[in-house]
């Protein structure tokens, strides 16, 4: 009997202490709520209310029917898909060479590419003006060589200029998880396969690619998320007919002061990003692969 009386407090003591200690999460959570979730709620409220302060879907109906928005959505998705595919291919090729056809200084090259993660994204867009722009080195060389009067290479101020810039900027995000994954593949497995007569391409297809699949999926979905949200590159390329959702939000809010429309587009853009982020988390937890650079 005495035991029964004594045991409950003894067991609830640590539990209550743990509950009390869990409160330590409150200060950073409050900061996040006030600075992040509160503004998000206001965006959503602004998107869903009419001028008469009642709930309405009219704002959405107007935006969803506008050609500007539909073209923005189309460009956002097609640029993101194209750029992410480009990143996957380029990142796979670079990682493959660095990991499996190593040369002196291969690690250094890998780290050089990795530093691109910390550089501002618009650096590449600006640099491309000097390379592929109408007065850039490529066009000038071609015009001098073939005595042309017009610049022959004219893709920079279109969707493809944005795609190529994004491929350059976001390939490191594929290479990080991929190189980590390649370092765990047994080299003896590859050596045995090739001693048994497997060709290099066959080894890549049958051994390396399956092993790299989780890392490719994680990196690819991260790239999709980042390219959907990319703003600096699109702004710096400044192609008139390439409008993405973030560009559209900026135009509506800052140039036209049309906050309700900007909020509606922001809600759609955030929903798209959160969906992609959910995919990324699901891929990472399903494959148990290494987290890519985002977290």
């Amino acid at each position: 009997m005495a035991d029964l009386v004594i045991t409950p407090p003894a067991s609830s003591g640590p539990a209550r202490a743990a509950d009390w200690r869990a409160l330590w999460i409150a200060p950073p959570l409050l900061v996040l709520a006030a600075l992040f979730f509160y503004p998000l709620v206001l965006i959503a409220m602004q998107a869903f209310t009419s001028d008469a302060h009642t709930f309405t879907l009219d704002n959405f109906a107007t935006v969803l029917h506008s050609r500007q928005f539909l073209s923005g959505l189309y460009h956002t998705i097609s640029i993101a898909v194209l750029a992410s595919s480009g990143c996957l291919v380029l990142g796979f090729v670079f990682s493959l060479v660095i990991a499996f056809v190593p040369f002196p200084g291969a690690r250094l090259v890998g780290r050089l590419i990795d530093t691109f993660i910390s550089l501002p994204t618009f650096l590449v867009a600006l640099a491309f003006t000097f390379v592929y722009g109408s007065a850039g080195i490529l066009n000038q060389s071609l015009m001098t060589a073939f005595h042309l009067t017009m610049p022959p290479v004219d893709f920079l101020y279109s969707q493809w200029g944005v795609v190529l810039s994004e491929v350059t900027v976001y390939t490191p995000f594929i290479m990080r998880p991929l190189l980590a994954c390649f370092s765990q593949i047994e080299t003896s497995q590859i050596e045995i396969a090739s001693s048994l007569g497997a060709r290099p391409l066959g080894i890549v297809r049958k051994i390396i690619l399956p092993a790299a699949l989780p890392a490719l999926l994680a990196g690819g979905s991260l790239c999709l998320l980042l390219t959907v949200n990319e703003f600096g590159i699109v702004l710096f390329i400044g192609a008139k007919d390439v409008i993405t959702l973030p560009m559209l939000i900026y135009d509506k809010a800052i140039q036209e002061f049309d906050y309700p429309t900007a909020c509606v587009i922001a809600v759609i853009n955030i929903a798209l990003s959160l969906g992609l982020y959910g995919c990324y988390r699901a891929v990472v937890s399903l494959c148990g692969g290494r987290r890519a650079a985002l977290d």
Binding site: P28, V101, P102, F103, P120, P200, P246, L294
Partner: protein
């Protein structure tokens, strides 16, 4: 080793080197060249000059660089404190609550920066908190955009340090705060430094949210670069981009050396 023939290896390297030079080498080389070129009408600039760099010192760009460094340092420090606090506090929580909170701290990194800027604009242009038009709103935006990265880095670091170290210290009579300050935090110090340098770099290059909210008196370097490039002064823009990129890399290098030393200790 995937390729055994000499020819196969050499041709692969040649191909990869060409690809690397085209994708990464050429753009960086061109922007570096543009920053020192005087006149550029032909294939290559006619003469080289440091006039663009000299002009930075006498223009508003220097003030913009100062604003960027200040914003980056303050926002990164705040994000480091809040991220470390959250990661440490979340260690005490288990189960579904932990997973939900974990996602809550990561979610800011999944929201487009322009939308974060729009949200701040909508929320803080009205009562109870009027921040629009002050430098504070820029700090808040940068803090939000980098907080998830800091939190993620610190969490990853904490996961590699067994919680037993702190518990042993406490069982030996150390107060919780003392154990945290003298045992746990020094163990994760390299991760804290890495988190700080990554968030500082991100903040230095941030454009989307800043362009939405910056007040006239608090112009960061990326906004200044955009203004220059928009006006057509692309050589000055290239010069400033070089300064921004090189400066960021230098800070990262210094911090990584510091972090290596902390890891050795």
């Amino acid at each position: 080793m995937l390729l055994w023939t000499r020819w196969g290896r050499l041709s692969t390297w040649g191909f990869a080197a060409l690809l690397f030079a085209a994708v990464y080498g050429l753009p960086v080389a061109m922007i570096a060249l543009a920053s020192v070129s005087g006149q550029w009408n032909g294939i290559l600039p006619s003469h080289l000059t440091f006039a663009h760099y000299a002009r930075i010192v006498h223009s508003e760009s220097l003030a913009q660089l100062r604003v960027s460094v200040l914003t980056g340092a303050l926002a990164s420090a705040a994000a480091l404190v809040s991220g470390t606090w959250a990661a440490l506090a979340l260690r005490q929580i288990r189960g579904a609550r932990r997973r939900v909170l974990d996602i809550a701290f990561f979610v800011p990194s999944a929201v487009p920066s322009v939308s974060i800027g729009l949200g701040l604009l909508v929320a803080f242009s009205q009562r109870p908190l009027l921040l629009n038009g002050t430098a504070a709103i820029v700090f808040v935006a940068h803090f939000l955009l980098i907080s998830a990265f800091t939190y993620g880095n610190v969490t990853a670091g904490l996961a590699r340090v067994a919680p037993e170290y702190g518990e042993v210290a406490q069982s030996l009579g150390a107060r919780p705060l003392y154990a945290l300050w003298r045992v746990t935090l020094p163990l994760v110090a390299p991760y804290l430094l890495a988190a700080f340098s990554l968030s500082f770099a991100l903040s230095m290059g941030e454009l989307g949210a800043t362009l939405m909210i910056y007040p006239p008196g608090w112009v960061t370097l990326p906004v200044g670069i955009f203004a220059l490039s928009d006006r057509g002064a692309i050589f000055d823009a290239a010069t400033l981009t070089m300064v921004l990129g090189a400066g960021t890399l230098l800070v990262l290098l210094a911090l990584s050396r510091l972090s290596n030393r902390a890891a050795l200790r």
